[in-house]
C-alpha cells in the first residue's frame, strides 16, 4: 500500500521537511520520511525537480556538506539583516576623545587634536566620525598645508538629542581639580 500516489505529493513532503528543518537533511534523513522504500535515484530526481520548481522563487535548494537545505536567495540578505541587527560595537577611546575635542574646541584641525591628546590621530578615527556624519570639514586653516578644520554637524546634535552645543555638559565642571581621594 503506497501512502503517496504521485510525484507532486512526494515533492510536497520533501518541501515541507526541508523548509521546516533546522539542519540540512541528508539523503538518508529524507528516505526516512516515507513509509515505503524510497530509492536514492528517485529521491535525487525529486530533489532536482524541487530545485527547478523553486528556481524563480525566494528560496533556493542547495546541497551543503551534510545534506540539502532551502536557503534565502542572496538578494534578500540585506533585508533579512535588518531583522537582527548585529550588537553594536562601542567606539574606541581614541574615537570618543577625538569627538569630544571636536565638539568642545571646534573648529579644530587634526594638528589641534594631536596636540591636545598628545598622540597622532589615526586616519581611521576621523573616517569613522565622518562616515557617521557627526563631523565635517568647515574650512581650512590658512597655514602651510592648509589643514582641514573639523566641526560637529547638526546630525551629531540630533543623535545626541541636543538643540545646540551649549547644551553639552559645561566644561568648567571638569576643569576643577578633583580633590584627592582621602583613604
Amino acid at each position: 500500500m503506497s501512502e503517496t500516489k504521485n510525484i507532486t505529493e512526494l515533492k510536497n513532503v520533501l518541501e515541507a521537511a526541508l523548509l521546516t528543518s533546522h539542519e540540512p537533511l541528508s539523503l538518508e534523513d529524507m528516505t526516512r520520511l516515507f513509509a515505503d522504500r524510497m530509492e536514492r535515484t528517485t529521491l535525487r530526481m525529486l530533489l532536482d525537480e524541487l530545485k527547478q520548481d523553486w528556481a524563480q522563487r525566494t528560496m533556493e535548494l542547495v546541497q551543503v556538506a551534510t545534506g540539502f537545505r532551502f536557503q534565502a536567495r542572496v538578494e534578500y540578505a540585506t533585508f533579512l539583516a535588518r531583522l537582527n541587527p548585529e550588537k553594536q560595537a562601542k567606539y574606541s577611546r581614541a574615537v570618543m576623545e577625538t569627538l569630544a575635542i571636536i565638539a568642545y574646541r571646534q573648529p579644530v584641525t587634526r594638528g589641534d587634536i594631536e596636540e591636545i591628546r598628545g598622540v597622532a590621530v589615526n586616519p581611521n578615527v576621523m573616517r569613522q566620525l565622518l562616515e557617521r556624519d557627526w563631523i565635517d570639514v568647515v574650512g581650512q586653516r590658512e597655514v602651510p598645508g592648509r589643514p582641514s578644520l573639523y566641526a560637529t554637524t547638526k546630525h551629531f546634535l540630533d543623535d545626541l538629542n541636543l538643540r545646540s552645543l551649549a547644551e553639552l555638559p559645561p566644561m568648567e565642571d571638569f576643569t576643577q581639580q578633583e580633590p584627592p581621594l582621602n583613604i
Binding site: T20, M96, V138, G139, E142
Partner: protein, 261 residues
C-alpha cells in the same frame, strides 16, 4: 516433540526465544494503579464515575466506605500515604456524620454538607478535562513544524550608541591628560561661540564673501545670540581664519575666508 514448544520467531534475523522485558507485568499491580491517581479528588472522581453516579447526588455512605477501602489498601502495601488522602477521609467522614444528624426543616439546600465537596469535585473534573484537551492540542515541536529555512546572516552593523555621559567622560579623560590645559580653559558661553564659529565657516564655504550684517539676524536672534555671533567672528579673526575688509569708514564690512595671498 521438542521443536513444537520452541518459539519460532525471528526479529532482525535473530531467533527470538525470550519474553521481552516490556511485556513484564508487575505482580503488585495495585500499587501502580493507585499511583496513577493524582490525589484524593482524583480518586473520588474515579469512584463516582466508575459507578456512574451523578456527581451532584453522591451517596455519601457508599462513597466513604469505598474511599476508606482504597486508603486501607494503600496502607497495607505500604504505599506512602499522602496527608492529602487522610485529610479527605476526614472530610468525607465529617460530611457523612453531618448527614446522619436530624435536619431542621427550614434548612436550605445550600447547607447541604456535600455542597463544598461537589463544588471541588466539579472544578477538579473540569480542570482534569481541560488538561486532557491541552494535552491533545497540536503543539510546536510535536505536531506543528515551523518554517526555519536557512539564510546567510549578514550583519547590518548598527552604529554604536553614544550618550552625553560617554562624551563627557571622554572629554574628562582628555582634560586629565592634557597638562597644558590651563590656557585652553573654555566656559559654557564660549562653547556656543565655538558652535557659531563653525556655523560662520560653513556659510563662508558656500558664499565666499559675506557682508558683516548678513551674519546677524536682528529680527530672529535675541541679544545673547547676537553677542555670541559677534564673539565668534572676533575669535575667528583672532585665530586668523577669516579676514575682514572695509573700503572706507562707514562702508559695509566684508568677511571672507583668510587666504593669505
Amino acid at each position: 516433540m521438542q521443536t513444537l514448544v520452541t518459539i519460532d520467531a525471528r526479529i532482525h534475523g535473530e531467533a527470538f526465544t525470550e519474553l521481552p522485558h516490556d511485556l513484564y507485568i508487575p505482580p503488585d499491580a495495585l500499587e501502580v494503579y493507585l499511583e496513577a491517581f493524582e490525589g484524593p479528588l482524583d480518586l473520588l472522581l474515579y469512584l463516582i464515575r466508575k459507578h456512574n453516579l451523578n456527581i451532584l447526588d453522591i451517596p455519601m455512605a457508599d462513597l466513604t466506605r469505598q474511599y476508606m477501602q482504597y486508603v486501607e489498601k494503600m496502607h497495607a502495601i505500604k504505599l506512602e500515604l499522602a496527608g492529602d488522602y487522610l485529610l479527605m477521609s476526614a472530610v468525607l467522614i465529617e460530611i457523612k456524620s453531618r448527614m446522619l444528624l436530624p435536619k431542621p426543616a427550614e434548612i436550605e439546600s445550600e447547607d447541604d454538607p456535600r455542597a463544598e465537596l461537589v463544588r471541588r469535585l466539579m472544578e477538579y473534573e473540569a480542570i482534569k478535562l481541560a488538561a486532557q484537551r491541552l494535552d491533545e492540542m497540536p503543539k510546536v515541536g510535536e505536531d506543528i513544524s515551523v518554517a526555519s529555512a536557512y539564510y546567510q546572516h549578514m550583519s547590518e552593523t548598527k552604529s554604536p550608541e553614544v550618550s552625553l555621559d560617554d562624551l563627557a567622560e571622554a572629554w574628562r579623560n582628555v582634560l586629565k591628560r592634557a597638562s597644558n590645559f590651563q590656557h585652553h580653559k573654555v566656559g559654557k558661553a564660549e562653547l556656543s561661540v565655538r558652535e557659531h564659529m563653525s556655523i560662520i565657516l560653513r556659510r563662508l564655504k558656500v558664499d565666499n564673501l559675506l557682508e558683516f550684517s548678513q551674519l546677524f539676524d536682528m529680527v530672529q536672534d535675541g541679544i545673547p545670540k547676537l553677542v555670541v555671533c559677534f564673539l565668534a567672528i572676533l575669535e575667528l579673526a583672532r585665530e586668523g581664519l577669516l579676514r575682514m575688509t572695509q573700503q572706507a569708514p562707514f562702508s559695509p564690512i566684508y568677511i571672507q575666508i583668510n587666504n593669505h595671498e
